[in-house]
Every structure is written in C-alpha cells, then in structure tokens.
Symmetry: D2
Subunit: 407 residues, 4 copies
Amino acid sequence: MADINKVVLAYSGGLDTSVILKWLQDTYQCEVVTFTADLGQGEELEPARQKALQFGIKPENIFIDDLREEFVRDFVFPMFRANTVYEGEYLLGTSIARPLIAKRQIEIANLTGADAVSHGATGKGNDQVRFELGYYGLKPDVKVIAPWREWDLLSREKLLAYAEKNGIPVEAKHKGGGAPYSMDANLLHISFEGRHLENPSAEAEEAMWRWTVSPEAAPDAPEYLDVEFEKGDIVALNGVRMKAHEVLTKLNELGGKHGIGRLDLVENRYVGMKSRGCYETPGGTIILKAHRAIESITLDREVAHLKDDLMPRYASIIYNGYWWAPERKALQALIDATQQTVNGWVRLKLYKGNVIVVSRDSKTDSLFDMNIATFDDDGGAYNQADAGGFIKLNALRMRIAGRLHGK
Amino acid sequence: MADINKVVLAYSGGLDTSVILKWLQDTYQCEVVTFTADLGQGEELEPARQKALQFGIKPENIFIDDLREEFVRDFVFPMFRANTVYEGEYLLGTSIARPLIAKRQIEIANLTGADAVSHGATGKGNDQVRFELGYYGLKPDVKVIAPWREWDLLSREKLLAYAEKNGIPVEAKHKGGGAPYSMDANLLHISFEGRHLENPSAEAEEAMWRWTVSPEAAPDAPEYLDVEFEKGDIVALNGVRMKAHEVLTKLNELGGKHGIGRLDLVENRYVGMKSRGCYETPGGTIILKAHRAIESITLDREVAHLKDDLMPRYASIIYNGYWWAPERKALQALIDATQQTVNGWVRLKLYKGNVIVVSRDSKTDSLFDMNIATFDDDGGAYNQADAGGFIKLNALRMRIAGRLHGK
Amino acid sequence: MADINKVVLAYSGGLDTSVILKWLQDTYQCEVVTFTADLGQGEELEPARQKALQFGIKPENIFIDDLREEFVRDFVFPMFRANTVYEGEYLLGTSIARPLIAKRQIEIANLTGADAVSHGATGKGNDQVRFELGYYGLKPDVKVIAPWREWDLLSREKLLAYAEKNGIPVEAKHKGGGAPYSMDANLLHISFEGRHLENPSAEAEEAMWRWTVSPEAAPDAPEYLDVEFEKGDIVALNGVRMKAHEVLTKLNELGGKHGIGRLDLVENRYVGMKSRGCYETPGGTIILKAHRAIESITLDREVAHLKDDLMPRYASIIYNGYWWAPERKALQALIDATQQTVNGWVRLKLYKGNVIVVSRDSKTDSLFDMNIATFDDDGGAYNQADAGGFIKLNALRMRIAGRLHGK
Amino acid sequence: MADINKVVLAYSGGLDTSVILKWLQDTYQCEVVTFTADLGQGEELEPARQKALQFGIKPENIFIDDLREEFVRDFVFPMFRANTVYEGEYLLGTSIARPLIAKRQIEIANLTGADAVSHGATGKGNDQVRFELGYYGLKPDVKVIAPWREWDLLSREKLLAYAEKNGIPVEAKHKGGGAPYSMDANLLHISFEGRHLENPSAEAEEAMWRWTVSPEAAPDAPEYLDVEFEKGDIVALNGVRMKAHEVLTKLNELGGKHGIGRLDLVENRYVGMKSRGCYETPGGTIILKAHRAIESITLDREVAHLKDDLMPRYASIIYNGYWWAPERKALQALIDATQQTVNGWVRLKLYKGNVIVVSRDSKTDSLFDMNIATFDDDGGAYNQADAGGFIKLNALRMRIAGRLHGK
C-alpha cells in the first residue's frame, strides 16, 4: 500500500463517496481534502460541506466550486464544434465532465500540497480511466487511489454494512427495493445505468427519466426557437445574448419541456465490454442539430467532410478519457480553425421529441449562392457545359479500366 | 455534334423527358429507345408506353421494367449496412437509385445495339454525374447525350414553348403559378428542390410534403414495431418475413403514418455549390435507427469504429456517383464482411416523428455479456484490478511527457 | 497462483526459455509441452528437442514444426499486400510472426489437452501483448503464464544464477561482456534491441549486423532482378516460379548480399514507451518496393489512395498484436479484394543498399494508357478542353468563398 | 473568346512560354505582363527580360522575382512537417511550387490592374489545375487563359512552325532528335516526363539525370551530416545556422554528390490518367528521413499516428492543387500545432544513394526515457505487472466473442 500524506477526493456528498472518505481515513491514515464541483447536476452542494465537516475534514480542506461556466465554455462547446457523437448516438455527457473535474482536483492538490487524488468510479467503467488519465497527464507522479479497485466492498450489501458500522447516513433510496440506477448528471446530461437496464432486451420504464417529459406528455403545440452562433458557439437564444452555461441551462429547459433528447443504447466501453445506458441530453440534442445547420451554409464542403471523417476519432478520444492528451489538442487546433466562419442563425421548431430545422442564414458568412443554385436561368453565373469536362475527367480512370477489362 | 445511331433514353413519360425524346429525334436524327423503370416512385408506368408510341418509338424499343426488388436488395440494403449518411443528415435517396438506372440503361443499349444513352438531368446537379459515371464505368465508349448541357432550352418558358410547338402535352401543374418543385421519388425517398426552397432562410410549406403527415398530424398513440435482421438486412417485420422491397414499402407506410423521416437541409453538391433540399425518407429513417441498434449488440467495438470512420467516405462516394467504381466495391467488401454476425431483432416505438429504440437482442450473436456488465458482484468474470494496469500503461506516454515538460 | 494442469511453452531451446521451462515445472508443478517453430530464424531446432528431453519432457510433448511456408504465405504476403509500414519505417518483422506462433501454440494446447500456455516475452515489450491477444482470441479461457511478469528473476544476474543452480547450460555469449543484444529472427527479419542501443544518440556498431553486409562492403556491380506478381504476391524471381518461403529466402540472400534492408529507428511501443531498435529486413525491403511498383500500374487511383489512407491503421493493428481480431480481418477483406488485378512484373536493380525500380509492366492488367499519357498529339483520345470544365467546377466552392470574403 | 485587357503570364523565357506570349498578343490583342520567378531552378533569369523586351513588353510590365527563400520557408518546409509523400514515393517537388507562382501572379495582376492570367501548362497535366485553383482561390473572378487548351498548336511540329514564322528563337535542343523531356525544376527537385519514359517498361537512360550522380558514380567514402531542427524545420547543418533556402541548396549539393534522391515511378494524375515520371529530389530526400527521425523521439505516439493517418490526404490535397483551399489550411493548423516540440538533432550518413540515420537526440524535447526502456532492472520506473491488466482488458472483447462463437 502506497504511503500517502494527503489526498484530494472528488466528493459528491452522497453515500458512495462518503464511504470512500471514511475508508481513505481509516485505510491510509492520511489527511483528506474534499472537492465538490457544481457542474449543473442540480443538487445542493452545501450539504456536502456539512458532511465533510462531520468526518473531521478541516474547513480549509473543503473545496466547493461552481464550474458551470467553465464546463460549458471550455469543454462542452469545443466538443460540439466537431458535431461530436460517439458510436452514432451518444453525446458524451459524462465523458466531457471528467477532464474538468480531474483538472480542478489536480489544481487543488497543488494548492494544498496533496500527494494523492481519489475518485469514486468503479473498476469496470470508463470514468476511472477518464479521471486517472487526466490526473497522470496533468501531474505525472501523483498517487492515485481508486477504492473500488482496492477494497472488498464490491457488493452493495457490504457497502451498506460498512456505512452503518461507521455511522454514515444512508438515504432511503439506497435501502430496500434493490440498488438504484447508477446515475451521473451535469449541465449536459443525466445518465442511467444498472438495474433492469442490464438486460438490453427490456424496455426502460417511464418512471426512470428525470429531465425530460415523454414525447407523449409534451405540449401539443410546437415552439420556435432562434439560435445565434459566433465562431461555432451559441451566443444568443431568441435574440437574448447569454453566457455559455446560461445557454445550455435554457436549452435544457426547452428541450426537457418538449420531450427532446432521450436516448437508450448499448455502447462499447473502453475497458472492453458492452454496456446499456439511458441518457437525457435535451440541450445538447438541440445544439448538435443547430450546429450542423449553421455549418451547412458557412462551412466549405471539403472542410466539412474532413471534420466528418475525423469526428468519430475525436469522439473516441474524448470517450476514452484522452481530453488532456496531445492528440486531442492537435485535433482541436484543426476544429477550432474551421469555426472562424461559423457565424449566423438557425431557426428550430421543437415539438414532442423532434428538433426540426426550418431555416438558417448568415449575414457575413453564407456560402449559399442563390444565383448559382437556382433552377432558373442564372445569367451565366454557372456554365453548364463545364460539367461535361468535369464528368469526363472524373470518369477517365474508370473508362480506361473498363476498356482493359472489356477486352 | 456526335454521330449517333441509336440512343437509350431514361424516360419517365413526364414533360421534361418527353421534350428530350422529341429533341433527340430532331437533333440527332437517330432512333430512340425508351427505358422506364419502376423504382417505387408511385406512378403509373403504362402512360409512358403510350406516350412513347405517340412519338413513333417502335414497340420493341420501349422498355418498362419493375426494378423495385433489385433496387432495395442490391442497392438500398447494402448501403444501409454501412449506416450511410451524407453530411450527417442525408440518407442518399436519389444518389442510390442512379447507379441502377445507369446499369439497366447500358444493358438495354447492349441488347438493342444502341451506341448512345441520354438522361434528363440538368448541368448543375449531381444526377448527371451519377448517371454518366455509371454509363462510362459500365460501357467505356458509349456516347452520352446530356440535353440540358447542349440545348438552349434553359428556361422553363423556352421548354414550354418547345413542348407546345411540338404537340407535347403539358400538364396543368407546369402551367401558371411558376415552376413546380423539382422532385425525385423512388422506394427510398421523395425529394424536393427549387422554388422558394432556393432561399434557405425560408421555411418549407406544409403543403409541399407528400409521403408523410406532419408530426403534429400523426396519430396520438405510439405504435411498436419488431424488426428482424439477418446479415445486416431486414428480413421480417412484426414476425412476418418479406422481400427487401416489401420491407421498405411497409416501413414507408408506417413511417409516413407517424410523421417520420422529413428532412430540410443545405447540402454540398459534387459540382461545387450548396443547394437546399427537402426529403421524406420514412422507411429509411427507421432502417438506419434499427440497424445501428442491432449492430450495437452484435458488432465488435473496433469493427464498429472502423465502419464509423469509413462511413463518411463511403457516403461521399455514393453521393458523388461512384457506385460502380472500384473504391466503392473495395469498401463494400469490408462492410459486407462485417455483417455476418449482424443477426437479431430490434423493437422500435414510432410516435409523431420519433423512432425510438426500446429493446434489442440476438439469440446467436449478442456480444452483450450481462455477467461482466453488471454492477453487482460478478463472481470474478472481470477482475477490477486489471483496470489499474490498463490505465497505467495507457497513461505512460502522457506521464513521460508531463515529467519532461514539468521540468 | 492459478491451478495449472498442463502448459504449452513457446520454447526456443535458448537460455531464457530453458530457465522458464524449469521455473514452470518448479513453480506450477505441472506438465510442460514444448513447442519450437522453424520460422526461418536460421537455427538448428533439434538441439531444442534434446534439451527438452533433458528437462524430462515426454517425447510426445515435444513439438517441432516447420512453419516457414505458412508463415510467408498466410502472414507475410497478406501484410505486404497493404504496403504495410509502421511509423513510416518499420516492416513489422517481429509483429507478424507472433500471431502464427500463438495460433500453433493453441492448436497444440487443444491437441494435448493443455489448459495453459506460456511465453518468454518480457513485461515491457510488445510481444507479450501479441502472444496473449492471440491466445485469448483463439481460446478465450486459456490460462496464460507470463514468467517475466511473475517471477523475481528480473536482472540478468539473477537469471544466470538460477540457471547455474539448476544445471541449465549457459552459452559463452551470455557470460562476461554484459548482456547480448535482445534479438529476434524469422524469415522476414532479424532485430536488435538493448545494450548500447538503449542510447538513441549512439551509432550502432558494424559488428552487430548479421544478415546483411554494409552498403560499403557490398559488391561494386549492381544486379538486376525480375519479380513477378500474381494477385499481389510474388510468385517468381528471374522467371523461376517458387513457393512463398522460397521467394523470401532468395530475396533475403540477394538483399543481404547487396547491403539492403538495414534500419535503425526509435519506435513507439504499444505498452507506452519509446524504444530503439535495429532491423535487417533484406527481402522485405525488396518486396515493399516491388509491390508498390506493380500496384502503380495495375491499381485504380482511388483504390490505391484508400489503401494508403488505411495502411497506417492496419500497420498499428498488426504492431499492437490484433492479427486475430475482427477489425484486422475486415481490413484484410478490403485489401485482398483490391489485389485481384495486381498481376505483372517489376524489374529492380540492387546496388549497395539501394533497391531501384527501373521498369514494370503487366500484360493483363496495366491501366497505363500510352495513347492518353503521351505529350504528342493523341488523336483525340483525350480532349484537353475537358480540363477547363473540370477545373472550373472544382474551383467553384473556392470562388464563391473568395467572392464572399473579398467583399 | 473572352475580352481581355491585360494578362499576367508566367513566363520562363523558354520556347513554349515565348510562343504563348506572342500568341496572347496576337489572339487577344491585349497587353502582356511577364512574370519570371527564381525558385532555384538554376537558370539565368535576365535572358527572360531581354526576350520580353523583344516582344515589346514594357519594362514596367516585366517582373523577375527571387522567391527562393519564401518558397522553401513557407511552402517546402511546412509540407515536410507532415512527412508528405504522394502515393508512397513522390515528394511533390512540382506540386509545391505552383501555389507560390499562382500567388505571386495574382499579386502582380492586382498591382498592374490586369484582368487575366495565363500559364504554359498543358491540358493533360496536373499543373494547369494547380495554377488555376490558385488563381481562382485568390482572385475568384480573374480570367484564365490556358493556351494549350485553346490553340491548335498541339503537336511539337506546329509549335516549332509557329515559332519560326514569328521569329522566336528555337534552341538546338528542340530541333532534331525528337522532343526533349518535359522538365520542371525548382529548389526542391527536377522532374522528367515524356519521350521514351512514356513506356513504363523502359529503363530511364543514365544521361537523363541532371542533379545527381548515379549511386555507382558517387564517392566511395560516406559522409556524415548533422542536421538541427527547430519546430520541425531544419535550421542548421553541421552546426552552421542558415536560412531555409540555404539549407535546401546545401542539402541538394550533398545529396547530388552522393547519388541521393532519384526516383522513377508511375503516378496517378488528378486529371485521371497514369503517367510515368522521373525525379531528382536530393535535398528533400534527406529532409524527409531526418524529419521522421527527429519526430521519432520528440513526438507523442498518438500524435505521430494521427499525422501518419492524415498524411496521404494532405499529400493528395497538395498534389491536386488545393494549397490555397480551406481544407489544406485546416490540416496545416493541426500539423503545425504538433511541431512545437520537434526540436533536436539527427546525425545522418550519406553514401551512394543511401541516407542512413545513425543517431538522434533532443536536449529539450526527447520523450525517449532510458530508465523505462532498459532491459536491465529499472528500479520500479515501470511495473511489469501492469501489462497483465493492460492485456486482459484489451483482450476482453475478443474473449467475449470467442466464447460466444465457440459455443
């Protein structure tokens, strides 16, 4: 067992990380610094402070930070600039939050002189990888404690027994009726795993969903929404400029109201197994649709295709936890360079689970040229005869091959 | 002007290709063979025969073929095996029909001893490229007549005048009220371009859509649908086995009823300009969603990612008209090789524009392993401690770099 | 410690694997099956049998197989069809042998009812990964013993002490003068690592190289060589048809004589660190050059570019040990599909380290069309005016953008 | 025929562009501005001025510019940062010069108020595309005159007749003995096409080569060369700092002396046919080898692989003439971002056609870690047991599949 002096724990205040806090104190006999972040998960953070104090954490070792603006501005928006989707469906809501938590945790380790960090992610999931690649990338020689890979509290029963033995309060939801869903929430999404979702042939139950109404329960009237982009990021909704996290908060509200952004899928984890997850990403679903629409008129074709070709790789990099790795930064340099002209607005219609693009324009950067695109006489803007030569040369290699093999 | 003996014209029986038929006879003084294909566009084909006869086409020179099964089985389904989407949105409904038309046209040219082929696509669009790359790829020295690039009937007025002068009947829709939408339909989709769609900031009018009701007008009750796959293709719906084109016909009916598959976008044409198009692809939208779902449990992660990385390129190849080119065939070899294990079923819920995956399973090929994925104690199926080494080695290069640059 | 009944060891007969043999017997108290493969490494194999007998291995548990033909035909040649090079330089000589060894080892495990396999690769290198991914891919529940990751004989001194204590003969080269190079050889190459190569700023010493003379010491007269391909594989040299391994044997002889195929590089290991290696790949260097040359006239441009785009990924897959993984097989399906037309001959000149292509042709599959390529009047085979339209349409998107941004 | 006021001609002073000059004056009755660039092709430029004057060009309309430094610094070096090679072999010597010529020509058009530009590239080659995509990209509405696509002087005989009729001096090399090679030279390379090279099964004759001695004729003693890099570019040779074009000039001298950089290949032109070319790129061949070597110790693995994956695409973009297109700029942003750490030195040995890397190091940016790479006991820098978990998780998906399909 490593010799630890002081450890910074990513602490939510919930049951699992409270057990970890106690376990760290007992097992490593070290000082614990708690770090609790507001990423828009929609929970009160002050209770985490009270709980930490009850465990004997010194006040100066309790960090509670509102990271919502940084989260959306520096992580969520840059990711959406690439129209990022993992395996065709997943909007990476959990993946994109981990690098920021790791970064802040390391900052706090440096501030407090801690030599170790710890997190509550299990040994089967992707989050352990995302946290720890962040830690190691930002502070190569930090010691990492991953309790789920070390202790023997691997069943829920053992965990609850440990909690009771140590006077850690267990909320009602953890008792009886089996384990709750494993959930993760931040401004971008809320996710659900476990319980009967572990059977991919079983339909998710309606009561599980939290952020969105069902399409069936959404309003019968559609709602229009105007979205304005600058350099690929949304800067205003319905004409009102707002900060990044305010944009996403508002979009979540609108999307949730209209039953937008539910997803039920089986994904491939980096650690090697398939897992079934359900996600609610109301605002992100709207951003993706709107961003593709504004790019459709402001981005050059070959640039757009280059981005599309690279997107799955960029998505895997983030999904696998390599946000702080140099290959992610290199790709981001390319992506950001393409977004200089992605300025303009998109009009959307939200209705019962649908995000429908109805119009789009850009005063400064539209590459859509009506004179050339028109079916009417274009007055010579485009010479149709040019297409003959274009086709002839593009066909040349096929014709040469055809002649050869036709012989 | 080329010396033409006999030309096979892709003939719909509509105004444009009727004008072309007459123009070919007048301009090239050559024999014309008409070819009319049923690709599921939902129009009577016999009137085309009558019209052709009226233009003096010999009965043995009139070809009317039902290609619906071949179209879906050999073109649409192979394309969906790759989850193919152009520019993140477009399901390639027009693109995928052109190679089949070109193939059959060349077969007819060979049957009838024709030395030329002709089509009604304009000089500004992608379809001319798709037709002609097909022609040249399959019969390298065929002569190609593209009237829109040759004649001077470039405005609708001139075309109508030519028609009237030559006694070609002009349907009411072509008169007054400006030009109609430029439409294309087959079993996979119907498309709309032109008119006020040429302004991408104008919303499409509800009256334009033909195959789908609006989500608002769709039934208030959702409908469940069971889809069964074999080697990546759908072979049964709700337990009833059917042929490829019957599957798509049925999915179009269901999708259309539930307001599924409308799309309004600006795309990048191969010939260089952006164009705005509206599409209805009810059945295709369902296939895409279902196919991704069945792959999610039956496909290896790295194979799935390889397919995702290559998909945009494969989509561009088809969009640009290179179906018959060797690079498409090489990619198809890869894609088809991956589909051997894509067997199983997916349950979908259709509701007001939404296609919602609710469950999926495969008796023979599911790679989803509940024992490993579970949050409960897995009895040693997966050793959580392994993750520590996995992370350490994956982090090694970042740690070495961090140490260097931290100095 | 796992409970092992019988283990198949990849046994070279050398010091390290002899120590492992003994250590397995002592530590696991299990029956050992030895497997020694002739992959063309140029060593006598019968001594391995004698040594095995001395360790008490039963005769029926000693397997010595000549795998040379299978190695070149089913592994080396398929890899060269893709012009495979790792990190721009390395011809994957070690990587490509491991999957075959793993496959045969598993076959022997199945034949002999063994429940475990073992190898002599260290815990720092790529080979452990390549062996074990092969084992697990071909026999998912086999037990794997990797002594270097388990035992405490991590220094050379301890290893030698263990050998002496157990009466294992130590050849002179292992004594005094420090450790020898870590070497690996098979028909494709011989590799050197370790010793003063661990300092990448130190030049390799001339005495290290074994299979090739230095360019300086090579003959002063060049030698011409005619190479004939069928479906991408070499089938004849200077007009003499031969089997795959005979081809490579002959090319190694010629390359070695002319100082061809030495390489000194720093590569990135899959396990995370950089390592310096020196390689001699005389025959492989010739194959690569010749294969590219025959493809240059027989492969379609877009197919060639598709292969080039995918090659680095394919190389990494092999380097990292995923030969038996489904993504390698999917890529191979694509690669092999492209090689049907790769038939013809290439003439090379070998001279002091250089492999120079001087001419190439294909009676059946040359896509080189002299009539079109000529600078002389081509009599209309190619209409130069077509290029105008080709350029105009390809430039269109740039012109539209230029007009917009020029405003 | 377009109405032209003033045209800027890329004018070499040679026969072809002199004929073009005269033809432009006669055909378009317009003012001609001549532009002659020194790109290091090794020819006197002042004769071009004299000839232009003889054609009646006004002195202020004659532009002769030394672009050597800009060429290497802003075009050649950025390209080599990507280890750019087209179709596995070609170093893009011609391709990379065209964008600079186009840029300067457009600058001169803007300076002189010209409305048109013209070049001497034929209608069958890539250069017309490269020039014109540059023109259109930088000045969208410029008029382009491509005489080879317009006039009827398509055979060498007609061209010579026109020259004689118009008093244009014809050098001896153009007379008798058939046409000369079609050559292009600049600081990066000299190329040869045409004549008997049009038969790819014919060996190039020794007398053709100009910049390099044959390996056979090169010195019998090798020469060592130290190359120093900063941010991916060479800044010093053998300890002597020099400017970009001085570096390349010196490397050409050294490479030429040692028989380095000859290439004989068949390439795929953008306009659709295969063509055979011979190239001498002595300095570039050295740069490529050295640059890969310095990257091998200073670049992260995943960044290096990302670059390798994108390189063929980047090469095609340049080969096809899209230097000024936004997709090239986006890729360059990525490439340049990766080169910040590419600092250090490489030692090469030049000998009879060989460029041999013998050592490399970086004081500031080496990621090579001897402590970790060593075969000796590393004192815990790397925990070999970690590899077990690494392999287990990487094998997991294959094991799950193996179990399923083994059933």
